[in-house]
Every structure is written in structure tokens, then in C-alpha cells.
Symmetry: C2
Subunit: 450 residues, 2 copies
């Protein structure tokens, strides 16, 4: 029979890769907890409808869908936010707000596997529900940066590019676009950085057939290009202020001014939180998912051509769109795949290793049963302990102990039978000593520094 | 729009349920590590063929299968062992043996949801590959008991029922059954305890039409009933020894004698390991999966009618059956669903809670920014810290701090601006004190016992 392989785009986590994944996930967990988030999880599959309704075309086209025996149309989760919205909606009146939750989820998307993009991956999600102020947007960005900083990435390595969909909407309407053209333009702009200029130009022509409007759009984007000499957010503020001089605009309700003010507030919080050096306003950031409504951000490696490490934003209408009340919400997702590539490149990748306290060896097969017994006594006390099944010679057992990074080797032999003593070998040194077994068992790690 | 619900048989893990699941999974992880196992993981979906080939009818009938855009037939994993066998086969020559691995996996089975059985659940898997002695079977049983004991279950609460498929095969062949009848009989016996007597009798008639053979089979099972006065394993040993008196049986190669000797060896190891009080030989244990070849076991709650907490056994032919070499293997799986019901019944269920070190409150909205800044400085030092978004009055903020089980409340106010001091309130006491901010930040938890 032929060997069956793993499905393309999925990964097998052998212990070495698992230790890396565990290190990443433990970092996510600790960072979530220190930022005041509580963990939740949702099922691996949901009704298909949960995704086709609100996530937008890109996600809907990447679903692993299935029909169960009862004829229900299901899909493996491609993202966590719709499940979160569903869960929140179910208990909205019982949950004290703001709700600050995190999840570390396995997700699947039927994409063509490529560098930084697999068909199965893990994603860290952070969400704050029930707060509409920029402080919760800032808190999300802070939490993402807090994690990335904790693994050694500096503001020289990564950049948080942020913008706002509601600001873009206000600008677009000022240009003359109508409400129902906006989604098409978001989708167009989200693809810009991923497409060759000619392909983008053709797509822009399809999306905005009116040449004048299209030129206005592209000129606006170019004028806030972060590569320019002036901070584009300052430029934008100047533009918003300038509107006051035009008497036909009611300054206190001008949408562009309002949105610029909100973005400036966000910037101020990011400064107070001490992470603004990581951040850069970039009007080109719109995000691919359909449900975003306010500030949006993506985090990139400054040096390379990797995909975004992390992306998120405000989605104030999603809960209502899924049958719940109107509740503001903001959050982000960070996948393991691009992150791992970047950390590997920067030589910052670590792994989570469990210590083996004791390797219990026997100086002859006649002591095997005694070694087995001692191993189990140590385990029952909560210590990690291993032994050799193969009844190898003592020297080979000690080699195994070294291979397994045991802290101590405990040798059971004639002296154990005759005098109730064991030999304790410190694997980090060349020393060993004979210890009465009851004394050893009373406090097995007490011999650590002696 | 109607609310979309979770799919029946799946669970939403709100923070409270998640803390319970995390406690269970952390217990599994620690127990695996102290018993010398390394963690691995496999993809959530595999080629359908991986399960239809070797797992047997029961599993094949419970698959969530799907066809991807490339026309590949896939299935969500219903168990971990086939993926493990596939992974081991891929690297068999590079992996030092015995391979001792564990996984904590999300699995799905398209079953009718009922008490103790859901369509999505978590399972702890322990496997030892590359050792054919009963010591590895004993090590698996020990590890399962080690975990259950660590959460407070005693030998009065649970029982490990063990038997051996190869012993049963030897007994069946002695009765006159042929090799190709065995699988049908395993399947029949596995269902026995789950069926009403009449249904079982009818199924037995279908499986073994020959009345004489059928009676022999049922008489044999009854004679080793663990409810009898004599230990059925002793009874079996006596029977095996008695065969020596029959000159037409070559004693040193009699399969029943060999298998009884192996089972006695297993019993001896379980005694040495100090867990035999949890164990009971029970010839009715055969396991539902097709691939078992040797010792098999299931762990039950002694008091109730719950399904098995845990089941496993030796599967020496699975790796070869999936295209690899002939390598012996043994292992078990323990799900979270029945376990949680039992622990709940016994009032042994706990949850894994993360401590909130600091709640940073502000004595007036004018100190909000300073509180936010301090929160982030504490987080950057690795402490968990929360604050209130809502700009509530100080009293309400302190109420929040209590609700979130914060260890300390830190109050930022006029004295912070004027004298660079904060007020530190020990939430477990009624005391509070004023501390210079630099001194506080130098070692924030230093005030714990003062």
C-alpha cells in the first residue's frame, strides 16, 4: 500500500516544530492575560451562512465547506470574529462591558499554499466589545505591539500602518462617490499593494469607470503617501482645518474633520501608551474583510516583502448584522505563519521545552523492576522521570539521559537492594554521590545545588 | 435577520468554560511531560482514505468528510492515531525509539449528540512506538491513572478494565473460530455492554450462526466474568496451566499459554508501578477500533453508567498497514466530555485562572491619560494590568477591580501629578498606602506582604 501523505498546505508538528508553536502560543497567551483579556474558544465548524453573510467575498471564496448527514451546510472556520460575534450576541445582556476576550484558534482557508500562507494555520485574536472610544482601538494595537516587542522585535523591525475606513468613506464622499460605491473601492484599495501597477490600473478602471472620479481617488491616495516628506496625518489635519475656511461646510459636523479628530485621538493614545514609534498613518490600509467600520491597521516587517503579520480594526455593525444589538467592537488577528518566518529571519525564534528532572537508570537488568518502581514514585510526586525500556547497558542508558536533557540521572543497583541507597548523578557536572533513598524521595530536587 | 446558532453537538467555550477546559488540558500536558512524553500535533483534516482504510466501520461511519476545490476527498480528524502513524512512517528511520509522544487534539465525529458524546471534543493521546514489551502497555495505563489520580480520583472511583485481543484470538481459535471470523466477533463483543440483552442475542446470532460455537463463546465470556468470586485472570492462568496436562498441545508454543503469560507480565508491571488496585482483568473489553492487536483497556467510573473515560491498546500492525514498516505501538485516548461529567459529579472539577496583578484606577478623568500610561508601563514589565475605559467614578472603578480579582488597585490622582506618588490598595485587605512611583515601578510586587 502507498503511503498516505498530509494534505498540501497543512503541517505536521513533530516535537521540534510543536515546541516552537507552543512557544509562540504561550507568548500570545501571556500577553493577552497581562493586557487584561480572557480566553474563549468556538467550534471548529459553524453553519456556512455565518461566513457567507458578513465576511465578504474573499473569505467566502476560501471556505472548506461540507454538508453533514442531516443536510446542514457547514464550514470549517476561516476566521474567529463571526463565531465571537455569535457567542457575544447569545449572552449580550449577561456580559459586563467592555468585553475583553482573546482566542488562539486553528483556522482553515482553501487558498493556494505559498510563502506565508497555508491552508491551515493558528491565529491569535484579541477583541474588545462594548466600547466605542479610540482608547479600545489603541489598546488592541498596544497588545499586538506588546507581544511583538516581547519576542524581541523593535520599531526598526516592524511598523503598524493604521488608517480608518470611516475617514476614507468621508474623503470618498467629499470627492463625489456614493455610499454604495464604497465597498468596491475598499476591496480595490486592499488589493493595491499586492498587484502589479498595470493590473491595479485595469481593476481601478473596472471599479471606477468615471475617469475624473478615478483620478481624484488616486491623487488623494498619492497625496497622503507615507513616503512623502511630511507626516500624512499632519497633512490630513491641515486639510481638515482648511475646511473651516470654506463657509459652505458646517465645521462642527463635517465628516472629514470628525474622522481626522478621531484618528488624532487614536494617535495621542498610542503616544501615551509609549508605542507611537512603531506606528505610521497610511491611507492605503483598508483591510480585506467587509465588516470593518472605523480605525483599521496592519503590522508589517519593515525590511522584507512578507505579508502582514497582523491585521484588525473596528467593526461596529457586525454584531447587529448577525442578529444582535448594535454594539461597538474592535479587534485583530495575528497568524503564526508569517510571524514564524519573520522571527526565523531575525533569529528570534525560540522553543518551549519541558525539563526532564530525572532519568532513572539500572546497573543491570535485575534492577529493572526497582528502577521502574522508583520512576513511578517520582512521577507520583509530580517530577518528570524517564527510564529505558530496552534493558541496555548502564553506559548507554546514561547516554539516553544526556540525549533527553535530564537534569539528574538516578542509578539503581546493588546498593539500592542492600542499603536502600541510590547514586545521583548531576548531568550538568561530572559529579555523582550516593544518597539514602528515603532522604532522596523526601525532597528529590534538594540535591540540585549540592 | 435571525440569529445563527452553534451547530448541535458543538460547544462554545465562554471564559468560564474555557478556564475549565484549560485546567483539564494543562493537567494532561503536565502528566504527559512528567511521564516522559513529547508533544506533537497533526492537521485538523486528512485524506479521507487515511480513516477508511484501517480504523474500522464505526469510525468510517462517523466522519465529517468534504471535497476540496481540487476534488480531493478529505475528512476532519475523528481520532489522532492514523495521523500519528502517518507522521511516524514519514520519519521512522530518523526517530530514536521508543518514540513517546502525546497530543491534545480537537476531534470531530458525526454522531448523534448525547450525554458524554458530542460531535466535537478534545482528546488526550499518549503513544509509545517501537517497543513490544508489556512494560510500554503498563506505562500507558500508568500515565492514564497518574492523570486521573492527580485530579483526585481514587481506585474507589474508577477502574481500569484490561484484556488482550491476542489472548481473545487464541481462546477463540481454541474454540474453533477461524481467523477471518475474529473481526466480526470483536465488533460484537465491543457492543455487548451498550446493547439490551435481546438485541445483543439477535446480533450474536447474526454474527455466529453456528449455535454450538455461539454457546461456547458466550460460556467462555461468562466463565471469566469479573463479577465472579475468583479473580478471572487467576482462573485463566489455571486454565492455561491445565493445558500442559494434555499431551497433544505443545506447551511452549500454545498461544493461549503465551498470551496468558504476557497478560500476567502486564499485571506484574502494573503492581510494581503501584496502580494495580485501579485495575481489573475483564475479557469483555475488546475496543471498537479495528486496528488493535494486543493488550486493550478502558477506564470506567465504578459508580455510574457513564461511557468509558479512556480507552486504548496495542496496535502493532497499523504503521505497516499505512505503508510503513512493521513497528510495534501502543497508546490510549482520553476525551474531555465524559471526564468533565465525572469530575463534576465528584466535585473535583477546577478551573485554570490567570491572576490580574494590578487594576490602575484614576481619581478623576483628568488623570485618565496618566493611568493609561502607568498601565502600559506595568504590562511592559510583564505584569497583568487593567484599567477602566468608561471614565467611571473611582468607587465604581474599585468595584471593577474587585470583580476582576485584581491583587492590587493602583490609584493615580493629584498626588501623582504633584509628588510623583501613587496610592496602592491591597485588594485582599482594607489597607492602602502611598508609594513613590519610581520605587513602585522598580519592583511592583514588592509591596505584596507589607
Amino acid at each position: 500500500m502507498n503511503k498516505i501523505t498530509a494534505v498540501k498546505g497543512t503541517r505536521d508538528f513533530y516535537p521540534q516544530e510543536m515546541a516552537v508553536l507552543n512557544w509562540i502560543m504561550e507568548g500570545w497567551r501571556c500577553c493577552s492575560v497581562r493586557n487584561g483579556f480572557e480566553q474563549y474558544d468556538s467550534p471548529i465548524f459553524e453553519y456556512l451562512q455565518l461566513y457567507t453573510q458578513k465576511s465578504g467575498e474573499e473569505i467566502a471564496g476560501q471556505l472548506f465547506s461540507l454538508t453533514d448527514r442531516g443536510g446542514r451546510q457547514l464550514a470549517i472556520r476561516p476566521e474567529t470574529t463571526p463565531s465571537l460575534a455569535r457567542m457575544i450576541n447569545q449572552r449580550i445582556s449577561a456580559l459586563p462591558r467592555p468585553i475583553k476576550w482573546f482566542s488562539i484558534s486553528r483556522l482553515c482557508r482553501a487558498e493556494r499554499p505559498q510563502r506565508g500562507r497555508l491552508r491551515e494555520f493558528f491565529q491569535w485574536n484579541i477583541d474588545i466589545i462594548g466600547d466605542d472610544s479610540p482608547v479600545s482601538d489603541a489598546e488592541c494595537i498596544y497588545t499586538a505591539v506588546d507581544y511583538l516587542r516581547s519576542v524581541g522585535l523593535t520599531s526598526k523591525d516592524i511598523v503598524v500602518k493604521f488608517s480608518s475606513r470611516s475617514l476614507l468613506a468621508a474623503l470618498l464622499k467629499d470627492m463625489g462617490f456614493t455610499e454604495n460605491q464604497l465597498d468596491g473601492i475598499y476591496s480595490l484599495l486592499d488589493k493595491r499593494s499586492k498587484l502589479p501597477p498595470e493590473t491595479f490600473a485595469a481593476l481601478a478602471k473596472d471599479t471606477v469607470p468615471d475617469a475624473l472620479l478615478r483620478e481624484k481617488l488616486l491623487a488623494c491616495l498619492d497625496s497622503f503617501n507615507p513616503q512623502g516628506s511630511q507626516d500624512p496625518l499632519e497633512k490630513l489635519s491641515a486639510l481638515a482645518q482648511a475646511k473651516d475656511t470654506k463657509p459652505y461646510v458646517a465645521s462642527d459636523s463635517d465628516p472629514v474633520q470628525l474622522e481626522v479628530a478621531k484618528l488624532e485621538q487614536l494617535k495621542q493614545y498610542l503616544q501615551i501608551m509609549g508605542i507611537y514609534e512603531y506606528c505610521q498613518f497610511d491611507i492605503n490600509i483598508v483591510r480585506g474583510l467587509a465588516y470593518y467600520t472605523g480605525p483599521v491597521f496592519e503590522i508589517f516587517d519593515r525590511g522584507s516583502q512578507l505579508r502582514a503579520l497582523c491585521g484588525g480594526g473596528r467593526y461596529d455593525n457586525l454584531l447587529a448584522g448577525l442578529g444582535g444589538p448594535q454594539v461597538p467592537a474592535t479587534g485583530f488577528g495575528m497568524g503564526d505563519v508569517v510571524l514564524e518566518i519573520l522571527l526565523e529571519e531575525k533569529k528570534l525564534l525560540r522553543s518551549f521545552n519541558n525539563e526532564l528532572h530525572f532519568f532513572v537508570a539500572y546497573a543491570g537488568v535485575e534492577f529493572f523492576d526497582k528502577a521502574l518502581q522508583l520512576t513511578c514514585r517520582l512521577r507520583a510526586q509530580g517530577y518528570s522521570a524517564a527510564f529505558d525500556y530496552k534493558r541496555l547497558a548502564l553506559g548507554k542508558q546514561l547516554k539516553q539521559a544526556a540525549q533527553q536533557n535530564a537534569r539528574f540521572a538516578v542509578i539503581v543497583g546493588q546498593e539500592t537492594v542492600e542499603a536502600d541507597e541510590i547514586t545521583l548523578k548531576d548531568m550538568t557536572k561530572t559529579t555523582q554521590k550516593t544518597v539514602p533513598l528515603p532522604q532522596f524521595l523526601a525532597d528529590p530536587l534538594a540535591f540540585l545545588d549540592k
